[in-house]
């Protein structure tokens, strides 16, 4: 199996399935997590380069996960994309303050997600 490059952490199965399918279709290796704790475990075990982090998740929410990742020297370089609902500007700001590198609003364009992930992975390589 290809090296895991992307982790999708969201408790909403529809979003997880959609993002995973779109990213796999785009040629990326994807791992899924349904809560923040599972996501942190997979981050440590598989070291994905990019993580899609839903703001509201059980056990450990998206903000806590962002803070945990950015305070861990081993994981700090992981690129975090916060998933927020459209119009929830406070969620977005909170996410960026917690350490997210950028945010993406739901609904999103799957084709634009693939394009953005490609750009991020290229810039991380560079």
């Amino acid at each position: 199996m290809a090296e895991t490059s992307i982790l999708v952490a969201d408790d909403e199965p529809f979003i997880v399935r959609l993002l995973t399918f779109a990213l796999k279709k785009g040629g990326f290796a994807v791992t899924e997590a349904r809560d923040g704790e599972e996501a942190l475990g997979l981050l440590r075990a598989r070291r994905p380069k990019i993580v899609f982090v839903d703001a509201m998740m059980p056990k450990m929410n998206g903000y806590e996960l962002c803070r945990a990742v950015k305070s861990d020297p081993e994981l700090r370089g992981t690129y975090l994309i916060m998933l927020t609902a459209k119009g929830q500007d406070s969620d977005r700001d909170r996410g960026l303050e917690a350490g997210a590198d950028e945010y993406m609003t739901k609904p999103f364009s799957p084709s634009q997600v693939i394009q953005r992930v490609t750009e991020i992975l290229q810039s991380l390589k560079g």
Binding site: M1, R17, L18, F21, K25, K86, P107, F108, S109, P110
Partner: protein, 529 residues
Amino acid sequence: MESENPINISELASHPSVADLLESCATIAGARVFIVDLAGAVAARSEARRCACPLCSSPPERFECAPPVRAEVRLGGEVIGAVCSCGAGASAAEAAACLARALGMKAADQADLDSLSEELLSKYEEINLIYDISGAIASIFDERRIAERVLDRVMQAIGAERGLVMVTNKKTGELELTAAAGLPANASAEWRSFFEGRVCDDVAGAGKAVVVDGRRDSAVGGDLLMGPPMVCSPLLAGERVIGVIALARKGGGGDFTSGDLKLLNAIASATGIAIQNARLVEEAKEQERLRRELEIAASIQASLLPDAPPQVEGAQIAARTIAAERVGGDYYGFFQGAGGRTSLVIADVSGHSIAAALMAATLRSVIRAATAQGGTASEVMGRINRMMYPDLESAEMLVSMLYIEYDPGSSTLGIANAGHNRPILWRGGECSLVKIPGILLGVLPQHVFPEERLPLLPGDVALFYTDGLVEAEDESHEPYGDDRLMAVAAANGSLPLDRLMEACLEGVRRHVGAETLYDDVTMIAIRQK
């Protein structure tokens, strides 16, 4: 063949439920069981050693030659991999065949799931696009900008090379090009003749979307700018078509699909609402502007009117005016001339706007200056016309006016008329119209206005009024008219002037009934003591 079948056996084999199946099969077979891809590479294998054969002792990463037991995994009749075993036990072949069938069924489920996911992905892309476009255009209140924004996004989403939005002209109802993209700038006329005639009119007329594929009309599909393949949807405001959006030349040379049409319809629907909203906002702004303008005009007009009629030796004077719902251009005033003479003026400036109110202000200054120079009513009116003509001509406005000079010494009215309603003379319970010829101010730069000399007997009343009084219509558009006015005046001419005028106004109100007075009503009355 692999490209037609996207299911990857390695991915399928990595699923946890497959690992459980693999171990169960190995138990039944009494041997190791392997799942291999089309090239023979091992995708998964059972863990426990079951027999002492070389295959079980040293499990390979790839099968270079055929194993003793091999069962193909098929999806829709196509081989996507195989289940292999050493075949040490009698049941090995059966176990491998069972697992191969199970993997085939799982692959079919996965293919269905992928297909649904693909559809879901496409729908989600559409939802996002509609959400995105609706959000983007919700705060735009300019038709052209809405059309440009929508066209740009929808062309990207559907992958069209050319596109346009046509919106109906609010006044003529004709479709007009509002936004276009990908069209050569110099060829719009050729395109319009084809497009408007062949497709847009059909869509706008029927309010239904169409897809025209490249084969159906190949005769016009070649070099024409918006020729087929194309897709076109109506922009609807409720059930009314207020425009069309069309896309042509799908990227990659294919035809537009029914999915493209559905998406375009959804976006066209949001666009129609946005354009309609933009129009409503524009109309509301225009109405507010007009309302403000009328307020200003009314304020100017009110400021021009005298506070109270003058006290004149030998006569009583009264005046009354009612502003219409829409401001009219009525004006009246009193001016002091030489030798104790008092001049009365009643006028109606054409138009119902700030311009009319400002023209009335100019008129008042001009009357004051013209009256101060002295002379007969005819001379003063001629002077007023000369002074007003340049302004009236450039503003394309006209003024009707009566200039009435009262000489207390001779108890005589000198009246000059510039196209105004004829005065009414009440004498001994009877009324008559005083006929005085004269053209409107502003028609000719020089004009001699004849003067009517009207000696007043004690008790006589002269009544002057604007057209708002006699032209006020009832619900069947019947004007109040001179005859009705004279009848009321005749019956009430002996009353105090305020009550006489109130009786005249009451008469017109009764005539109009529930209808609105659309023009100002103004009256001046003078009674010889």
